[in-house]
Point group: D2
Chain length 156, copies 4
C-alpha cells in the first residue's frame, strides 16, 4: 500500500460505517456500503422505481449522490479520528443513461492533503450481467474538526 494511503485511524472502517448509517438519505435511496478500504469506497444501489427520471432510468441526481458520497467516504478513511469531511465541490460527467439492475459507485483518493483531498470516482451499472460506466466524478473534499462540520456555517 502506498504511504499516502495508510490510514491514520485503525478504526477508520467503523467510523465510516457509522457516519454512513447516520445518513437518512442512504436509507431512502436503498444504498449501502459494499466495500470500505483505505482510500477507496464502494457504494451499491439497486434500481428502484421511486428514484427514476422521466424515462424510467435512475435519476442523474441519485447517480451523483452515490458518486459524491463514495468520494467523501474514501477521503474519510484516511483522516485522523475525530475529524470529519465535507465535499467542497465536485464535477460529474454523465456518460450514459443510468439503466440497469444495480449501480456501484467507487470513489478513490487521488491526492491526500492535510486539509484538502482530491478524489475520483466512477459509477458502473450492471444490466443483464453486463457492466457499463454511467458516470465519472472528480471531487474536492475538506477535512474539518467535527465541531466545525456540524455548525451551520460554510465548509471553510
Amino acid at each position: 500500500m502506498p504511504h499516502s494511503l495508510l490510514p491514520e485511524d485503525p478504526d477508520f472502517a467503523t467510523r465510516v460505517r457509522r457516519s454512513f448509517d447516520a445518513q437518512q438519505v442512504m436509507h431512502t435511496l436503498g444504498a449501502s456500503l459494499q466495500r470500505v478500504e483505505p482510500g477507496e469506497i464502494a457504494i451499491v444501489l439497486p434500481f428502484a422505481s421511486h428514484l427514476t427520471q422521466q424515462h424510467d432510468y435512475l435519476h442523474a441526481g441519485v447517480v451523483a449522490t452515490i458518486a459524491d458520497s463514495a468520494c467523501g467516504y474514501a477521503a474519510m478513511t484516511l483522516t485522523p479520528p475525530g475529524l470529519d469531511v465535507l465535499t467542497v465541490e465536485y464535477k460529474i460527467n454523465l456518460l450514459a443513461p443510468a439503466q440497469g439492475e444495480t449501480f456501484v459507485a467507487v470513489g478513490s483518493v487521488l491526492r491526500r492533503g492535510r486539509l484538502l483531498t482530491v478524489c475520483r470516482g466512477d459509477v458502473l451499472a450492471t444490466s443483464n450481467g453486463r457492466e457499463k460506466a454511467v458516470a465519472t466524478i472528480q471531487a474536492t473534499i475538506i477535512t474539518l474538526e467535527r465541531e466545525l462540520a456540524t455548525r451551520a456555517r460554510a465548509p471553510a
Copy 2:
C-alpha cells in the same frame, strides 16, 4: 426578453411540467416546480428528515439533484417541441451546510445552443426567514431527439 431566451415552443411550460411530474424521484424528494419561465426554472423542496446526511442537514446529493434539474429544465424551456434534454455534466460548489426549512434551486440559461446549452444555478436555503446560498452549479445540457434520449445509449 433577449432574443436568445424566446421560447420556440409556446407550450414549453406544459412540456416541462409533464416531464417533471414523470420523474418519480421528485415525488420521493418532495420537490416541486415553483416557477417555469423562458430560460429559467425554480424548484422548491421543503426540508425532510428522510433526506439528511449525518449531521441532519439536507444531503448534498439532494441539493445537487434539484440544482441539476433546475438547469436541465431551464434548457428545456427553450428547446423546440418534440426534443428532449439530458445533462452532459455539471460542477457544483457546496457553499454552506444545507440547513433550513425550505430550499429553492434556480437554474438559468447562460448560453443557448442548437445542441449544447450552458446553464448556471444557485440553491438558496431559508431558515427562520433568512435566505442563504448553499450551492452554486454550472451545467452543460444537450438537446436530443426524444428517441435518442430514451434509448439506452450514451447522451451523444
Copy 3:
C-alpha cells in the same frame, strides 16, 4: 457594498498589482489588469498571433489563464495583508471560439470564506465593436499564509 465584499486590507489594490506584475506569464501573454475592485477584477488581453490555436483563434488555454487569474485576484482583494491565494480547482465552459480583437476576463467573488473563496467569471471577446461571451468559469480559491504558498507543496 455588501459586508462580505469589504476588503480587510486597505492596500489590496497595490498588493494585487504587485503580484500580477510578478507573473511573467502575463507579460508573455500581453495581459494587464484593467480593473481592481473589492471582490472583482478585470484582466484585458489583446489578440496576438503567438497565442492562437489551429484555426487562428485565441487558444482556449489562454482564455482559461486570464479567467482563472481574474478569479484568483478577485479573491485576493478580500484577503488580509500578508496572505496569499492559490487556485484549488476550476471548471470552465468554452461558449464560442475566442475570436476578436480584445478579450476581457471578469472574475467576482461569489462566496468569501476564511479559508476557501468561490468565484465566478466570464470572458468577453470584442470583435468589430460587438461583445460576445466566449467562456464562463467557476473557481475555488484557497487563502494561505505566504510561506505555505511559496513552499513546493500541495495547496493544502
Copy 4:
C-alpha cells in the same frame, strides 16, 4: 486494444501532429507532442521563466493549457478523418505548485462518443529526477465537421 480505442483514421497521428504544429501558442510555450497513440496523448513542456506565476513556479494556466490540449488531441486520435474537435468544458484540480524542470501532460479517452468524448488527464512534474502529480483534469470534447469548427460560432 479495446474496441472503443480503435482509431477510425489510420493517419490519426499525422492529423494530430499537423494540428498541434498549427497552434502558435504551443511554440510560445515551448510545448511538444511526446506521444501520440490511439486514445492517448502526452505533451511535454520544459520549465521556462517566461511562463511563471508570482512565486516562480509554472503558472497554473500553462499547466491547464497542456492538460486540456492533451485531452483534446486524445479525442482527436479517434475521430474520423475530416472531423475536428473542440473542448466544450473542463474541470481541473491543481494538486501542488508546478515546480520542476519538466512537465508532462497525459490525456486519455475515458468514453468515446460519436459527438461527445470524455477524457481524463494528469500533469506530472519532474524535479531532480522525482515525479509528482501537479494537476488532474476531466474534460468534455465535441467532434465537429471542420467547417463548423472554424466558423466563428459556438461549438454547438
